[in-house]
């Protein structure tokens, strides 16, 4: 079993928590996510042009870059995290250009070296898998694909081909942020995905309250929360960690109580 598959193995949904690397005190915030009960970490790689993100994560990207975050810093953050938390899976999430800049093999090697468990790349669809996917899969790094409300039944097999780790269901057609999907539509979508794959299904976009998290946890294998945490970091800056921990705790408690 991998770290990743292990964290989906329990009888409750996993809490997947996102923050942007280099925005605020990242090491402290990562520890706070784990203390608060996050099962899987998604660490955002900042990019100058985060075109699939809403205002909260856009600003986090720009704050991080303004603070001078380099690709090397992100891998250093991941590596240190791996030392402190040997069993918590960490996924890098971001855009294609910073990932492919030094070549797919370089990136896969850097992930292996830092103990990164998987990758989510927003703008490499299945059709362009060649630029990154094979290198990752050969290195045993999960290549997490996204499915969305526009991914119809005809297309789904293409998305699943070469998808590893888990499947991330983006529950709204839109950018990251505040919009949220109706619970019924999430349930239908997860059921449809489950009929086509054995991969765990994590659901994200627009989830911010413990109630929402609990509702999604009833159907999905993972619940992804991002913008709401990033907003807390924006509000509290360098001292955000305790606030992040308390908020994540409220989500994880709700999820623990909402058995599948």
């Amino acid at each position: 079993m991998t770290r990743l598959s292990q964290s989906f193995a329990s009888d409750r949904a996993a809490l997947v928590a996102f923050i942007t690397a280099g925005d605020g005190d990242t090491a402290a915030n990562l520890d706070a996510l784990v203390e608060g009960g996050a099962d899987i970490i998604e660490l955002g790689m900042p990019f100058t042009d985060p075109m699939a993100d809403g205002p909260a994560i856009q600003l986090a990207n720009l704050r991080s870059l303004a603070a001078g975050t380099k690709t090397a810093d992100i891998f250093a953050i991941a590596k240190d995290f791996r030392v402190r938390h040997p069993n918590v899976p960490l996924i890098l999430m971001g855009y294609a250009n910073p990932m492919v800049r030094r070549g797919a093999q370089w990136f896969a090697d850097a992930c292996t070296d830092a103990g990164v468990d998987g990758i989510i790349c927003v703008d490499i669809p299945a059709e362009e898998d060649d630029v990154l996917g094979p290198g990752l899969r050969n290195a045993g790094i999960a290549n997490v694909r996204l499915a969305t409300p526009t991914t119809d039944a005809n297309r789904l097999p293409a998305v699943l081909e070469g998808a590893t780790g888990f499947l991330y269901y983006v529950s709204v057609a839109g950018v990251t942020g505040k919009q949220q999907a109706a619970q019924a539509s999430i349930e239908d979508a997860v059921a449809a995905l489950k009929s086509q794959t054995d991969l765990p299904i994590a659901v994200g976009f627009g989830i911010r309250t413990p109630e929402q998290a609990a509702a999604v946890a009833k159907t999905a294998d993972g619940v992804v929360v991002g913008s709401a945490i990033v907003e807390i970091i924006a509000e509290h800056g360098a001292g955000a960690a305790p606030h992040v921990r308390d908020y994540v705790k409220s989500l994880s408690s709700a999820i623990y109580n909402a058995r599948k």
């Binding site: 100058t48 075109m51 699939a52 669809p125 694909r145 526009t150 983006v170 950018v175």
Partner: protein, 413 residues
Amino acid sequence: MTETQNPPNSYRSQPDDRGHFGDFGGRYVAETLMPLVLDLEKHYTAAKADPAFSAEFDDLLEHYVGRPSPLYYAERLTEDVRTNAPEGKGAQIWFKRDELNHTGAHKINNCIGQILLAKRMGKTRIIAETGAGQHGVATATVCARFGLPCVIYMGARDMERQQPNVFRMKLLGAEVVGVESGARTLKDAMNEALRDWVANVHDTFYIIGTAAGPHPYPELVRDFQSVIGREARTQMMDRTGRLPDLLVAAIGGGSNAIGLFHPFLDDADVAMLGIEAAGEGLKKKHAASLAGGEPGILHGNKTYLLQDEDGQIDEAHSISAGLDYPGIGPEHSWLSDIGRVEYDSCTDEDALAAFQQLCRTEGIIPALEPSHAISAVVKRAAEMDQDKVILANLCGRGDKDIFTVADALGVKM
């Protein structure tokens, strides 16, 4: 990344069925957009094969846009060049006058094609990004003509330097949304348009303004703009009985350039020169992605980009808002790598000089974008024999730029 194989049988058969021009192009978009992009490709393929589609396109180009645009021999500019050129030098300079199109630039050719596609696909809302505002004006124009609501994303800095076009778009009924992120120019406007599109896929058609973005945009924009080169080829043969020796065009994303070049790509004796914006100079702030960039992925395609060693995109700079973009259409990246087209650049300062030279010698006020090409034309003409023929794309008129030019020349209006 230089291609080592033999040259292809035809330079006009790209892209492949995945939208790749050699190593470049492709469909690097979020999954939400992927089904839409595939659907667009399907509809475009059907439209291309449908005589009714091209008939409507041609009819609108003739009666609404005012095509064919004239092919003009710039006699006084040619004389001006010859005055300062070495003995026997000074090629003839001809212009394809797309600045005489309705709305004042080549952008409308593409907008007519795309709005017909939008209609075919049953889309009811149009969005677009704009830099100089020419594509925004052209999009707002076709939306008014077809009665569709229209939202234009424009960098806040570009709104300041292109105020007449902002007002034009509003007069035409468009909503103009100022984009405050990044350097507040074209790249940021494109990001924001993509965000809108992702959130409104069900009813919205994105009219991209240059030959870039995810497949099939680079191909379809090229095809719609190729009317420029097709007309020019016929006109040149009719008027002079020969093909030009050199084609020159300015490059932002590269739509006017590819529109002129593409119909000539297999004419081995026709040389081609694309001119990027060198801004304050290639060692300072500029917008020359081929000269100063490296291959990368942005806005749906793989292409040359201005970027740092971590793949973060650099801000571009050009006095011309329409060239102020850190990327270039993927077909140009390919044509550059295989060596079929030569690319060079022109600074803000040289473009301003060429702008004034054309005003005074020909009574034509060009846009700042083609002023970059004109600067290169004047330099090349002086090195070429007098019986040689240069054809440049005069792709836009300069009314929109008079405030920027006045400012650069230190004139208070």
